[in-house]
């Protein structure tokens, strides 16, 4: 802050230092090449300035080996950038399995978050330091985007499906949260903050002012209220498959293909049940489109995720 304004954003996640290291590499390479070009232009422009009007320089058609050289060197360097960047990208979008899960719903023009324990927040996100956090995100209207500059990550938040983003904060503090995808009139007002707390502080925050009802419990009561149990109750029925242990498994579909039962699959099965029919079942489930809110869907998914498979339960016994 010597200049009175920052030149770099704060580094507050495990990803930030990795992204910055790659950024510095690119700065070094590009500054070198820009300087080389500018230097050569200036030198040539001065050295070969026109001294008399009747100069007729000897023509030079080109040089095959020079062309090869100045194609190959940039190609080699860009391939380093490609691989390095791709590795980071892959890690940005592959959350670890033990991540703390938080649901995010965006709408014009606010962010709503809900923790597994049930706490809700608006335009704020409390997370613990040193633990991986996975955001499962969707939008109620247009496309938004969660942008956390201090963590060097962003991800579009789409209506009609889930996208995910994960990070591990390394420093307690408050960091800006921006919507980075233009979403209408108050786009620049769709901002908030991420509050990174020490684990103990975070536990305290979680227990304080909570509704006391976890997302799983909220999902369970929705499951009852919508009558899902009738067909999808324990063990399943002839009308509907059991949901116990479903999450993450491969599901066989009627047309012979398979699908992994992830958040997007469950969401689709609730809102558009005829899109993918499980092998051995009739397409008789009604749609719940318009009946269940985005938050409700996330709670239902949390509940379905929590249902342990009968086999696993038996094995534990």
């Amino acid at each position: 802050m010597i200049l009175g304004f920052p030149l770099f954003p704060e580094q507050a996640s495990t990803m930030a230092a990795r992204v910055d290291a790659l950024f510095y590499f690119l700065v070094a390479v590009t500054v070198f090449f820009a300087a080389l070009i500018f230097f050569m232009i200036v030198v040539f422009a001065v050295k070969y300035r026109r001294r008399s009007e009747d100069e007729r320089p000897r023509p030079i058609e080109g040089n095959f080996w020079l062309e090869i050289l100045w194609s190959a060197i940039p190609l080699g360097l860009t391939m380093v950038m490609f691989v390095w960047g791709a590795i980071i990208y892959f890690d940005i979008y592959n959350p670890p399995n033990d991540a703390l899960e938080i649901s995010i719903v965006g709408r014009q023009w606010m962010w709503k978050a809900q923790h597994a324990e049930g706490q809700r927040e608006i335009n704020e996100l409390h997370v613990p330091v040193g633990q991986a956090v996975k955001l499962t995100m969707t939008s109620e209207d247009v496309i938004h985007d969660v942008f956390l500059p201090a963590f060097r990550i962003k991800q579009d938040v789409l209506p009609g499906r889930y996208t995910t983003l994960w990070f591990q904060a390394t420093k307690a503090g408050e960091y800006p949260l921006f919507c980075a995808q233009y979403c209408g009139t108050q786009h620049s007002g769709m901002v908030g903050r991420v509050v990174v707390l020490e684990p103990a502080e975070f536990e305290k925050w979680l227990s304080g002012g909570a509704t006391g009802v976890s997302m799983i419990d909220q999902g369970a009561s929705l499951f009852k209220r919508f009558g899902c149990e009738t067909c999808h109750g324990a063990g399943g029925t002839s009308q509907g498959p059991s949901l116990a242990g479903l999450f993450g498994k491969t599901v066989k579909l009627q047309e012979g293909t398979t699908v992994t039962a992830d958040e997007n699959y469950i969401r689709e099965s609730i809102l558009d049940p005829r899109a993918k029919i499980v092998a051995g079942y009739q397409p008789i489930m009604p749609t719940f489109k318009g009946l269940v809110s985005e938050e409700g869907l996330l709670q239902l998914i949390a509940y379905i995720k929590s249902l342990e498979g009968a086999e696993r339960k038996a094995a534990q016994k």
Binding site: L3, F5, P6, F8, P9, V19, L22, F23, V29, I37, F38, M40, I41, F44, A45, Y48, R50, R51, E55, R56, P57, P59, I60, E61, G62, N63, L66, E67, S71, P74, L75, T78, M81, F82, G85, A86, I88, Y89, F90, D141, I143, D145, F147, P149, A150, R152, D156, L158, P159, G160, T163, F178, C179, A180, Q181, Y182, G184, T185, H187, S188
Partner: protein
């Protein structure tokens, strides 16, 4: 040659007078003027919107205009500058004027189609201006769905119709250039004797013809969803919002090359002329243009690294984006090598050309940051992107356009512009441009998102720098407007070839006669034969008669 001689000789400007002779002309040179006047008008309209944007961003609060107005300003700035200035600027003005002249033809292959394309352009412009006058549109020039197709309460359909209609003028111009370059080259004008300006316009025309229909269809789909609630892009209606982005960028990424390839063509001509050298690695530069045009169609997904598209798709698009950077790098190296052992003069067009190389180099190199997946995630949709593409489109294309306008001004008008003023303007534009856009790279990396009407106070210093630069830039753009108009009446008479340039267009009087050449030339030399006398490049200069 003295003034009275120029005035007395019949040429394309004085062959007939009156509004009808202009509005019904099929002379490619006059149509170039129609386009020149129209795109200049649109440039200053777009610049007016930019001025208001920069003034608003002087302070972190939203104090000059309201959020709705701000959103409309950046949308209309983008729509006007991209579809009504940058895309038509060099092809429809300089390309129209020069493609036939450079290849030794009397006109384009389809002169009436050429005039029709201008009317279509104007019709599209009228729709867009109507949309602006009726209250504007606030979707961003990218029209992302479902915001544009469902949620926006502004004049999306009218604007979309304007862009749809204008697209057909691009298609017709591209078609005309392709046929002309294939079929109407003068005897002896082989493909590898063509000026690189022609190669660049050939590559651009391919994109015009293949890419423009896709944006047209896409915008029709947006309008259909908006008017009839057909579920195409909005998930609430069963559509897919990301599909729009694929379709949109399938055109709009190649469109970046529509904007920059012709400028590269101009720069090749300028560098050769003002260093009196053949362009180093002519055929490599020519094929680089085609390479950019072809690979440019395969990189659209680099606009969508954080859109939710698959990680593996992201990796392929990243790889292809690095590949498309190589031909651009090759061009820069070849232009620089052209200067080596040349005879370099610093006339205003050359200052623009050197400015182009410098700014395009920065724009291109910062593009590598955006092609790099791990960095793009952070800088995507921030001011880093804004800075990058303004370096390409304004630092590159507009510098190339202005360099070209200055270079061929004597040919188009028969008059010279005031050289001192022109050099001063080039310098002011270069300085103003860098001051405006360089701070935005920093702003982007520290996290300022684009399209923000209000912003956190720590971003203010850099925004003030940017606005200060923009005011310098505005002066730089108003200067040529003034002295070029002045020169129409008071400029010194140019003569046939004031720069000592090579190329068929310089072998005919300035301004040229309606039929371009006194007789059909037979070309005997490749482009840029600066080591030879001007008379030696074709039969035009040889005394077949007195």
């Amino acid at each position: 040659m003295n003034v009275s001689e120029v005035e007395r000789r019949e040429h394309y400007l004085n062959v007939n007078y009156g509004i009808r002779s202009w509005l019904l002309t099929t002379d490619h040179k006059r149509i170039a003027w129609l386009y020149l006047l129209s795109v200049t008008l649109f440039f200053f309209i777009g610049g007016f919107f930019a001025t208001l944007i920069r003034l608003e961003l002087l302070t972190p609060q939203g104090d000059l205009v309201q959020a709705e107005t701000y959103n409309k300003l950046f949308t209309m700035h983008g729509v006007t500058m991209i579809f009504f200035f940058l895309i038509p600027s060099i092809p429809a003005v300089l390309g129209n004027f020069l493609v036939p002249m450079m290849i030794g033809a009397r006109d384009l292959a389809f002169p009436r189609l050429n005039l029709a394309s201008w009317y279509i352009f104007i019709l599209g412009g009228v729709f867009t201006v109507m949309a602006a006058a009726a209250g504007g549109v606030d979707t961003g020039w990218t029209f992302y769905t479902p915001y544009s197709s469902i949620y926006s309460n502004t004049h999306v359909v009218l604007t979309v119709i304007g862009i749809f209609v204008t697209g057909f003028s691009s298609i017709l111009t591209g078609l005309n250039f392709i046929v002309t370059i294939h079929k109407m080259r003068a005897p002896g004008m082989t493909w590898f004797r063509l000026p690189l300006f022609i190669w660049a316009h050939y590559a651009t025309s391919i994109i015009f013809v293949l890419g423009t229909p896709v944006i047209a269809i896409t915008l029709v789909l947006v309008a259909l969803e908006r008017i009839f609630r057909l579920g195409i892009f909005d998930p609430a209606l069963g559509g897919d919002p990301v599909l729009f982005q694929h379709l949109f960028w399938f055109y709009s990424h190649p469109a970046v090359y529509i904007m920059v390839l012709p400028a590269m063509g101009v720069v090749s001509e300028l560098i050769a002329c003002f260093s009196r050298k053949r362009v180093f690695g002519y055929s490599v530069v020519a094929f680089a243009s085609l390479g950019i045009a072809v690979i440019g169609f395969l990189v659209w997904g680099h606009h969508m690294f954080v859109s939710g598209q698959s990680v593996h798709a992201g990796m392929i698009f990243s790889l292809l984006s690095f590949l498309v950077a190589i031909p651009s790098a090759i061009k820069v190296f070849n232009w620089t090598a052209t200067l080596y052992k040349g005879s370099i003069s610093y006339d205003a067009p050359m200052l623009y050309a050197l400015g182009f190389i410098g700014l395009f180099t920065i724009g291109g190199l910062t593009g590598l940051f955006l092609a790099t997946l791990g960095i793009d995630v952070h800088v995507h949709d921030t001011y880093f992107v804004i800075a990058h593409f303004h370096y390409i489109m304004v630092g590159g294309s507009v510098m190339g356009y202005l360099g070209g306008i200055h270079f061929w001004w004597p040919k188009m008008t028969g008059r010279r512009y005031p050289e001192g003023w022109a050099r001063l303007a080039a310098l002011i534009i270069f300085i103003g441009f860098n001051l405006t856009f360089f701070p935005q790279f920093v702003l982007g990396y520290i996290g300022m998102p684009r399209r923000y009407h209000v912003y956190p106070p720590e971003f203010q210093v850099l925004n003030v720098m940017s606005t200060a630069g923009a005011s310098i830039l505005a002066v730089g753009y108003l200067l040529p407007l003034t002295y070029l108009i002045w020169s129409l009446r008071y400029g010194t008479v140019a003569g046939r070839n004031p720069w000592g340039a090579r190329g068929l267009e310089w072998e005919t009087p300035s301004p040229p006669p309606t039929e371009n050449f006194e007789r059909t030339p037979t070309v005997t030399e490749g482009a840029y034969a600066y080591e030879k006398a001007p008379e030696e490049i074709s039969t035009l200069g040889r005394p077949a008669h007195v």
